[in-house]
Symmetry: C2
Subunit: 188 residues, 2 copies
DNA sequence: GTCTATAGATCGATAGAC
DNA sequence: GTCTATCGATCTATAGAC
């Protein structure tokens, strides 16, 4: 019989929404208690270090998702081009086709970069490295693979910024399309 | 004889530093008074609407800088490729070769997007439009020009995110180099 | 494990003297 | 035009009952 009582992991999605919407400084415990449906007592029971620990848990959750759905599949020994196409589809799904921002990117630009520098740096480094290895296996040289991987990760983050700025998610779709094309031509 | 007393415009640079470092929510009047050297009385004399008006003034200042040093020069009737090269140099200088973030981009990803949606949207729209027109004059088709301009603005913002995330400003230099090359090949 | 009550600090903003 | 004093609200975090 499944446990009915709340678990720490049940709060992560709601915490993510609050931090995505208000940033770290702007996310108040008042809204967090409202969105999670838990009082401060329960929250501090699950997260003794308070808001800092809540944000760390969300960042870890995001990282785990990308590890499972993007970084690890990129290392699949089968056709690397299939793995890369799988990455684009997972990324498009995760960011809701440009309507959702990247919490790691937003934290990097905010007053939170120093506070969360390790998870932020890890996330982008692992992404770039995994994509570089996949591109190497498609036949690109080491230099081509490194530059193309950086170009892809840069463009995805930039597209999220511009889509948000111009309130036009289509920027994200166009960017993904362009990046797929870019990889196809780089292999010729 | 020059006025010795402070003017409103004297505070903009310091305000920009504070907002860049702490974001909007995170920027406290305590730090603003410290960095500007003005008490709250003086600040509210210059900015009756408080922090909101201070941030608006900073965004307007950034916009004016780009209008004068990037958008208008892009329309220079002389060689459009010279104008585009001038854009890259101005952008590299403004963002301190990747060590400085874009306040408009940061505000777009934060809890400030709704509050400052007009200046944020205007900034990126004017940039993209100005670059599109310059690219048109280099001989690109309308579609090529629009897509390439969007690609350039997206990549610049993305490079600022990644440079900040990985604490590696070189990402920004590599991205600008790649974009120059991209425009050169698009014209062939 | 969940709650309410509240501490203690800091917030943005205002008042009013000079 | 600049300052100090201070208001009232809100913030994170804690204490302690159940």
């Amino acid at each position: 019989m499944p446990r009915e009582i709340a678990e720490r992991s049940d709060t992560i999605a709601a915490l993510g929404e609050v931090f995505r919407k208000h940033g770290y400084s702007g996310a108040s415990l008042a809204e967090i208690t409202e969105r999670t449906g838990l009082g401060k007592g329960s929250l501090y029971h699950f997260f003794p270090d308070g808001k800092q620990e809540m944000a760390e848990a969300v960042l870890e959750d995001v990282s785990r998702w990308f590890e499972a759905h993007v970084f690890t599949p990129l290392q699949d020994p089968a056709d690397p081009m299939d793995a890369i196409e799988h990455m684009f589809e997972a990324v498009d799904a995760y960011f809701h086709s440009g309507e959702r921002i990247c919490l790691l990117g937003a934290f990097a630009l905010g007053d939170t970069r120093e506070r969360f520098k390790a998870p932020i740096n890890d996330y982008f480094t692992r992404w770039t490295d995994a994509l570089t290895r996949a591109l190497l296996r498609t036949g690109l040289t080491r230099t081509q693979a490194r530059h193309t991987a950086e170009e892809v990760v840069v463009a995805i983050q930039g597209a999220l910024v511009i889509a948000r700025s111009r309130q036009d998610p289509q920027v994200f779709a166009r960017t993904l399309r362009r990046l797929r094309q870019r990889i196809a031509t780089a292999r010729q």
